[in-house]
Amino acid sequence: MSAAEIREQMGGNWEERSDGWWLPLPPEQIRAAAGSMLAGGARFVALVVSPDSQGVFGMSWHWDLKGTLLSVTTTLAAGKPAPSIVDIYIGADWAERETRDYYAVPFEGRLSTPPLMLREEDAPGMMLSPEAGRP
C-alpha cells in the first residue's frame, strides 16, 4: 500500500507539510490509526510529546512508508491517559515508557509502563519537575 492509499483509507483532514502529512485525531481514534498504518505496511518511527504553557500535551505518533512521513496528532490534558499502541506496534514500547519517564503520561491498554531511562525509584515526569529540584 502507498502512503496516499493509507491516507485515503483513513480519511480525515490530512495537512501536507514540508516534512510529511499530518492528521489531527481525537485520542480515541489513535489505535485505529495505528491499525491502519500496520495494515498498510508503515514503519513506526517515533512518539513525540510537546507540552504547551497551559499544561496541555500535544502528542504526535509518526510513521514512515517509503520515505513519506505520516503523523497523527492529538491533544491531552496533563494526567489524562493516552492510548497505548504496543499491542499493534511492539516498537512503540520504549517510546511509551520514555514518554512516561519524561511527562508522566499514563498509557491505557498495557499491563504496566515501567521506566526506561529513569530508575524504579524515580518519580515520572522529569521534564515537568521544577528546576530547583534538579540535581
Binding site: 518511527v45 520504549w94 531511562m117
Partner: protein
Amino acid sequence: MSYRIPIGPYHLALEEPYKIELDCQGERVTGATLKVGFNFRGIEWLAERKNITKAIALMERVCGICSNVHSMTFCMALEQIGGVEVPPRAQYVRVVMAELERLHSHLLWAGIAAELIGFQTLFMQLFHLRECVMDALESISGNRVNYSMNRIGGVNRDIDHPEAVRKAVSKVRDAVSRTLIPLFTTDQTVAARCRGVGKFSRAEAIAYGAVGPVARASGLDTDMRRDHPYLAYNALDFAVPTRPEGDVLARIVVRALEILESCRMIDQALKRIPAGPLHAGDIYTVPPGEAVARIEGPRGEVFYYVRSDGSDTPTRVKVRTPSFANIPTVTAMVRGSDLADVPLIQGALDPCYSCTDR
C-alpha cells in the same frame, strides 16, 4: 532446566553499559529483557534550556561516532522551520561529511564484528582503514570526533584538501573490495558462524520499527537518502543494498556493501561540488513553528522534532536515534537462539547505547 542469566551493565565485549537478562532452557534462549538508561544525560532537557548555537554543539554529543549527523539533523529541522535555504556547496560538504562518518562507523563496526567472529588480524586491518577515514575527517574539520561543521543554513568549513579525502576513500574501497567483501560473503568460517543466526523477519522489522542496515538486512528496502532525498543526494547515483535473509550474515553483508556505496557517493560529490558560499549568513533564531527532520545515519534513520517559539531557545527538541529503534529488536533476534550466539547477535546490531540513552 530453565534459568535466567543477567548480563551487564558492564560487559566484556561491549564498551558501553546496558543490561540484558536472558531466560534460557538449557543452552536455548527463550526470552530476553533489556535495561537501558545507564548513559542517560537528559540531552533533550538540556537542549530546551540552551540557545540554538549552544544546542547545536550539544546535539553533537548525542553520539560519539555519528556526532555529525546529529548536529546536521538538528540544523535541518531549524532550517525547515525558518525556511532557510542551504547553499548548494554546503549541501555537498554535508554529504561528504555524512558519508565519511558512515565509513568511519561501518569500519569500526566491521572491526568489532571481525573480533567477535575471531578474526583478530582483520580487526587490526579494519581499524587501520578507519584511521585513514578519521584523518580525512580531520583534514576537513580539524577534529576527529566532534567536527563542529554544522550551523543553521550551512557549514562552518570548506573541504580544503579534497585530494586527502579521495586518497582515503580510494584506500578504503580497494581494501574493502579485495578483503572484506570476499571474506564476509564467501568465507566458510564466517558463514558457519553467522548464517541463520539471529533471524529477524521483514514483518518483525516493521512491527519493531527497525531502521538502517538492520531493517535492510531483513528485506525492508528503506533508505532516507533515496526515499526522501535531502541535501545533494538527489544528484548522486547510488544503490541501496538489501538482503532478504534477516540473519547476522545479512547484516554484515549489507554494511560491507554500503561501505562501497559511500565511497561512490563521496567520489561523485567531490567531482560535482559547485562553487559558492558555505552558509546563509549568521542565524541565531528561527520564527515560531515546528518541524520534523529525518536523515539516514550510519545506523539508520535519525529523527528530530524541533519546536520554536521564535526566541533563540528551542521549546521542544525530540531525538529518536537509530539505536533507540534497533536495540529492542534483540529480544526477537535472540529468542530461540543458542546462548553462545547472543554476543554476536548483539554485536551485529551495531548498537550505540550512548545515543540510545541520550
